[in-house]
Subunit: 479 residues, 2 copies
């Protein structure tokens, strides 16, 4: 079978590369930014667009209403979750595929070289917001399914789909849908494993399969000194300014080397075993290439490879993201902001429970605020998701590793990720099955950043990879 199928698929996928790019272009053109209420209609449009594509490949679909959220002080409708089923043959294995259709905010003025919501191909790269995170990988599945039809083969697995449009904003509403509706309905009963393509290779040439993710605990630290913004000339010197208080609190969170200053924060981090420690030494990771790819002056931890990997995957990190309500435009705005909201987050690692971490942060910030002794009003809130790890020796991981080797002619690294996909845990709990993170994009794809891209190579070979992965009932053949 392999002898016949392999060259056919290679040819079919290559012949359809242009149509794959065109479909991604359509998807990227929908600015489905989930964090900003003014793009909510675009998120909903993106879900409907994807539902049509899912119908086009023959799946039955449902749009599941998941209620409302409070965003920017207003009640806003959440985009529906798109659920689909393709094939119910009890003799076949069933893969549940998860992907997200929403994107991080992006403006040309942020420093993009091209319009963020217009897919542009240059030097073998497809630039556009969402190209790699996560619209390209989602579309990869549609292309893989179509490839069976293209070469006249029957789909060898049943597929189930869960596509949401709120991942970049805490997957609001999804947990309840998975645990309280889909699970009781038996949606996961015949699922053999879950596959998510929403992460990246470690570098730019070698594929990997991912068995761990950090969680995230995101904080909104609000300080108010007045009911409005004030002219700094007229009011400066007569009010206790909110920015002064906020900057003070933000300065107490982390030191210049990235050490988190919140007492107890490292206590529950999973202990490093000798076995795990050895894993890092064999991973293909070049700190100098990594440093160069982002133009950093110097990496943390003196640029030592194992330290970098560990601090990216198994130790928590705290980042200060910015301030809402203060001057952010170019030029000299002379305003004393009346209310400011500092944003920071802690990436959580195995054994760190979000509730425990949130409490440590709240206690510390409240203590620092009391010591500070400002007459202004302070409030801190959080939204969090747990870290996740899976056993990389599981048979499904081994099968995915073999599929990867077939496509890329090399054994994939077994890696973790520093980022967070909280739904991974929920899918693991809802299905009671193994969850596999199979990245499509490269390590320099710049998800969340300016000039996000997906390499044409990763997109096209990724389609082949997903095709092979869906041959799981042929595991023995792939083996």
């Amino acid at each position: 079978m392999a002898e016949k199928l392999l060259p056919q698929i290679f040819k079919f996928v290559d012949q359809n590369a242009e149509s794959y790019k065109n479909l991604l272009k359509e998807a990227v053109a929908i600015p489905s930014v989930s964090s900003d209420a003014k793009y909510r209609d675009e998120c909903i449009r993106m879900v409907h667009w994807t539902e049509q594509k899912l119908k086009d490949v023959g799946a039955s679909t449902q749009l599941r209403d998941v209620g409302f959220q409070t965003l920017d002080g207003k009640e806003v409708k959440l985009p529906p979750v798109l659920v689909g089923v393709l094939g119910k043959d009890p003799k076949k294995n069933t893969i549940c595929i998860y992907g997200h259709l929403d994107v991080q905010p992006a403006l040309k003025s942020d420093g993009w070289n091209t319009e963020p919501f217009e897919l542009v191909e240059k030097d073998g790269k497809l630039f556009g917001r969402g190209s790699t995170d996560d619209k390209g990988p989602v579309l990869g599945w549609f292309h893989a399914i179509n490839a069976y039809k293209g070469v006249g083969e029957e789909l060898p697995v049943n597929l189930k789909f869960v596509f949401e449009c709120m991942e970049e904003s805490g997957s609001e509403g999804l947990d309840d849908l998975l645990m309280k509706e889909l699970k009781p309905e038996g949606f996961f009963e015949d699922v053999d494993f879950v596959c998510i393509s929403d992460n990246y290779w470690l570098g730019t040439t070698k594929p990997c399969i991912t068995y761990g993710l950090r969680g995230i605990s995101y904080y909104f630290l609000e300080v108010e000194c007045a009911k409005m913004d004030l002219h700094s000339g007229v009011y400066g010197g007569t009010v206790h300014e909110a920015m002064t208080d906020l900057i003070y609190l933000m300065s107490q969170l982390v030191d210049k080397n990235g050490k988190i200053l919140i007492p107890g924060i490292y206590n529950s981090v999973a202990p490093l075993t000798e076995n795990e420690k050895n894993l890092y030494t064999t991973i293909d990771f070049d700190p100098e290439a990594y440093r160069n790819s982002i133009g950093a002056y110097k990496l943390a931890h003196e640029g030592v490879k194992e330290q970098l990997l560990m601090h990216r995957w198994r130790y928590p990190s705290l980042s200060l993201h910015g301030i809402e309500g203060a001057a952010f435009q170019p030029g000299a705005k002379t305003v004393v902001p009346g209310k400011v909201i500092g944003k920071f987050s802690i990436r959580l690692v195995p054994n760190q429970e979000p509730e425990e971490i949130e409490q440590l942060v709240f206690d510390y910030v409240n203590k620092k605020w009391a010591e500070h002794g400002s007459p202004n009003k302070m409030n801190i809130t959080a939204q969090s998701g747990r870290a996740w790890t899976e056993n990389p020796d599981h048979p499904h991981y081994q099968a995915a590793a073999r599929a990867t080797k077939l496509i890329y002619q090399t054994d994939p690294d077994m890696s973790r990720e520093g980022g967070s996909i909280p739904v991974t845990i929920t899918l693991q709990e809802a299905s009671g099955r193994n969850v596999l993170l199979l990245p499509m994009g490269a390590g320099d794809d710049m998800a969340h950043s300016q000039n996000e891209k997906l390499n044409v190579r990763n997109y096209i070979e990724g389609v082949r990879l997903l095709f092979y992965l869906s041959l799981t009932r042929c595991c023995s053949w792939i083996r």
Copy 2:
């Protein structure tokens, strides 16, 4: 003469109130934001619009080209300065009038109740960006000049005009025009005094005349850790983050009570004399009303009136305005900014020279940066304007006080301002004459803030006041 003229003018101005509002509506509708390159054409449009109005009252005009500026990394043309002359009768006094046509940025989403660039009248208030700062006061002069025609009287003074559209952005290009072109050309030779209406009453009911302004020293504190923004999950823990460094530096500038932490910053502040100290006790200023008007929890200096006035007028203050390049939108953006620019300013007071203050700040920030020991790149730049004071016993101030009393039936307070109008000093130096700051707006007009407004009362009575002020050759009559 007075018996005949007074009621005629009162009647004429009242009859024309609607047309005054309509003209202000036109002016506010032009979003002449000078700090943002994308509004530069609107600034130029605003200058042309005003030139036509100046021609309409019979003045001869010139648009003076003042070259280019670097804004947001690009070379951008500066709006021309509008210069005008109305009357050259050697038997008459000549007043030079300065005003600015540009405005601070404003977005509805900043928290405005109405569209910022649409003048809306409500409860006797004219809401709109620029209504009080400084389009209303500029138009006041046109109305006052027209009032002479309206009652069939000849203008009793010669007028000269200098209107710019860069005041909110450091009056770029204006100093050179005033000192190196207009002054050598003899523009100021016949000027008796300069009048600027670009400040506010202290409160909301009692008029004032202003004899002092603080200067400003505005700082751009840039820290770069990478050539692009980074995903906090992927990179967090492996880079020295620019925000951590910037927040640290910003936290070292001022304490929660507003005390500036830069060594030597208070050394050159003009000493407080017993005479000056006594001045503050008689000023009409109600701290509790002031606190209420801005909704502050508690004022600085325990809310003591004299302390508040002194810290607003004669002591420097440092405000942290915000951060460019970091997340500022609502919601949870999980980005590690690659380059951030912290913005802060110090309001300068008499005897504080900008060069001296800039040096103190640079030295301190560089020292703190060296102590901090980050591998990232830091750079600090500044733009500054000096503080200004004038002798409030000067005959022109006394004449303005009498005019004010005629309109408002009360002696004005002789006050200073906490804000900065750097051109005041240049106009003083260029003309070699007395500069008078005669405010039109009220203390709660919220210039630079959300919901900026000009009271209808202040606008209409302000026109009468400017009418009377132009009767300076009749000082003996007013006296």
